[in-house]
């Protein structure tokens, strides 16, 4: 039996945290740091969105899927095609991407999730591999190898922001919304149902959970997140081309999810920063170092801190709250509600 400690921060601390977060995200990043880094941070937010999707389907849903590149591509190309070929307003394409990805997720999810663990990973990995060739094949639609030039959305005239700051705020807003949505999905009975279905099929069935549908719904949700990420990605980069959406994208997102903490939504941003900046730093040293660091990070994380950096952070946070007396009161639960990453306590 493990005691579940629900941290409850005093008002003063909460206020202080909010101020610090606001300062960092709303001021420091867009205005203080060098401007070429701003769009990189926008990309970080986009990766974080995709990673939250992975948290949902793999961390809590228990399905290891390596096909995210496909859905990111779906989102990116939806935006690109609608903007370039049909003259749509780029922001309007985001809901379309979301919807299409969600539907595609359902369609793919039903057959795919019938595959058991390892085979699902294998199947979705191969799916990722087929994305660039398929995109190139339908070149009438997708612009083939040349890709499509989406252009960067311009900041509204009345705001004192340059284009990269503007897109950063757009991404921040959408990421915040999606983060809250994910939190809500993962609260209460739905979370218990997910974890039960993930950890023990029999228990899940007894609890009245239709595991297949639940997992497929989760998969569809994660696809939606990937699709939205794709749309925003197209807008940040201003350009889509087939070779971007390859296996390495899927694997990088996977690395980000694991390093951040597979069940840690807060860790998603850490994982996203990892996969955005590490390759840049690594290739400054040596062009082949990036993969080595990714691979090493995966292995080291699992051996040393299976819960990932985010998961570890959450555990430390909870421990600290316990020590400082910032708790709601103790609740006991059966030890069965362990997350895949190993976190034994409910995050705040």
């Amino acid at each position: 039996m493990s005691v579940v400690v629900k941290p409850k921060l005093p008002m003063a601390v909460r206020l202080a945290t909010a101020i610090v977060l606001a300062a960092v995200f709303l001021y420091v990043i867009p205005f203080v740091i060098p401007s070429y880094l701003v769009s990189q941070f926008a990309t970080v937010l986009v990766f974080a969105i995709a990673i939250v999707g992975i948290n949902l389907v793999t961390g809590f849903g228990g399905a290891i899927t390596l096909g995210h590149a496909a859905f990111v591509a779906l989102g990116s190309y939806t935006t690109a095609i609608l903007v370039v070929r049909y003259g749509w307003n780029p922001y309007a394409t985001i809901p379309v991407s979301a919807a299409l990805s969600w539907i595609a997720g359902w369609c793919l999810g039903f057959p795919a999730l019938r595959l058991q663990g390892l085979y699902l990973a294998l199947g979705t990995l191969v799916l990722s591999i087929t994305v660039p060739p398929v995109l190139k094949r339908f070149d009438g639609f997708t612009g083939g190898v040349q890709g499509l030039s989406v252009g960067n959305p311009e900041a509204p005239v009345f705001l004192p922001l340059d284009d990269s700051q503007w897109i950063y705020f757009v991404c921040l807003a959408i990421a915040a919304v999606l983060y809250v949505v994910a939190r809500r999905i993962l609260s209460g009975p739905l979370r218990r149902a997910l974890v039960a279905a993930r950890d023990n099929q029999l228990v899940g069935a007894v609890m009245g959970v239709d595991r297949a549908t639940l997992t497929t719904a989760t998969f569809a949700m994660s696809s939606l997140y990937a699709g939205v990420a794709g749309s925003l990605y197209a807008m940040i980069v201003g350009f889509v081309s087939p070779d971007t959406f390859n296996v390495m994208m899927s694997l990088s997102l996977f690395v980000g999810a694991v390093v951040g903490g597979i069940t840690s939504l807060n860790g998603a941003i850490i994982g996203a920063m990892f996969i955005q900046f590490v390759p840049i730093w690594a290739s400054d040293i040596d062009v082949s170092l990036g993969g080595l660091v990714f691979g090493g990070a995966l292995i080291v994380t699992l051996v040393v801190i299976p819960a990932g950096i985010g998961g570890l952070g959450e555990r430390v946070f909870i421990w600290l709250c316990g020590k400082l007396g910032w708790v709601e009161g103790a609740r006991t639960t059966r030890a069965g509600s362990e997350a895949v990453g190993g976190a034994q306590n409910e995050p705040a």
Binding site: L66, G117, L118, L122, V126, P133, F294, G295
Partner: protein
Amino acid sequence: MNLFASQIVDGLADGAIYASLALALVFSYRSTGIVNFAQGEMAMLSAYLVWQLMAWGMPLVPAALVSIVVSFIAGALLYATIVKPLSHASLLTVVSVLIGLYLALNSLAGFLWTYTIKALPSLFPKAHLQLGSFTVSAETAGIIAVVGVVLLLLYLLFETTKVGLAMRGAASTPDSAILVGVSVPVMLLIGWGIAAALGALSGILVAPRVFLNPTMMFGVIIYAFAAATLGGFDSVVGAVVGGLLVGVVENLVGTYIPWIGPDLKIIVALVLIFGTLLVKPDGLFGRKKVVRL
């Protein structure tokens, strides 16, 4: 010789290479239940080892043999240091470690040997053979022959030797194998060693065809996955039949379905994998139910 027949023969040669890598996957899978995502990268490193040995003055054939032996040892070491400790870990951990290995090995090759392509000579002369009314390149015939011989040796190992029987027993029912005195860990060590050696063989056969570079095995491993899935991950026969089938189908589709053509051929692998897993998850020849989830 008409196009169709030559496509079949080429497909068999490619298929033989896929079969040897698929066999490697099967050997890793049996009794550990793990699909070694990094098998292709290990094979790639084996091929690079041959190149390096030749760069240091060794002739091709001895270098190839040395590489195969070293790969065997490396495979056994991989089992002992990484796979065995993971035997009770979650699926996520196993998949992550293997993917991590894939990324790391890929980069390692780039780091040690750069990304510029290199040439690895073929084991076979640049000649053509006349077999009746067929003309076949020495390389194509050679690949099929070499893989055929290796398969024969494996067959003899498993069907006639005590060790081979013990390995099959350990793969079939490890608990019972212990009760007859078999050392299951040793059998698994040998199994992973053989897997790595088979991978090395496939790498050495493929390198002359596609030029040596760190992403060389990428195309091969995907088809090997498809072959092993089609044949059944726990079936040796399945890996071989699967490999040959995948090779032939890939070639035929690439040639005769222009809309797919050589670039989109990879979709064959995807279709085969998903198709098999949904229709007959154990594969054509597979028997065991998957225990590891």
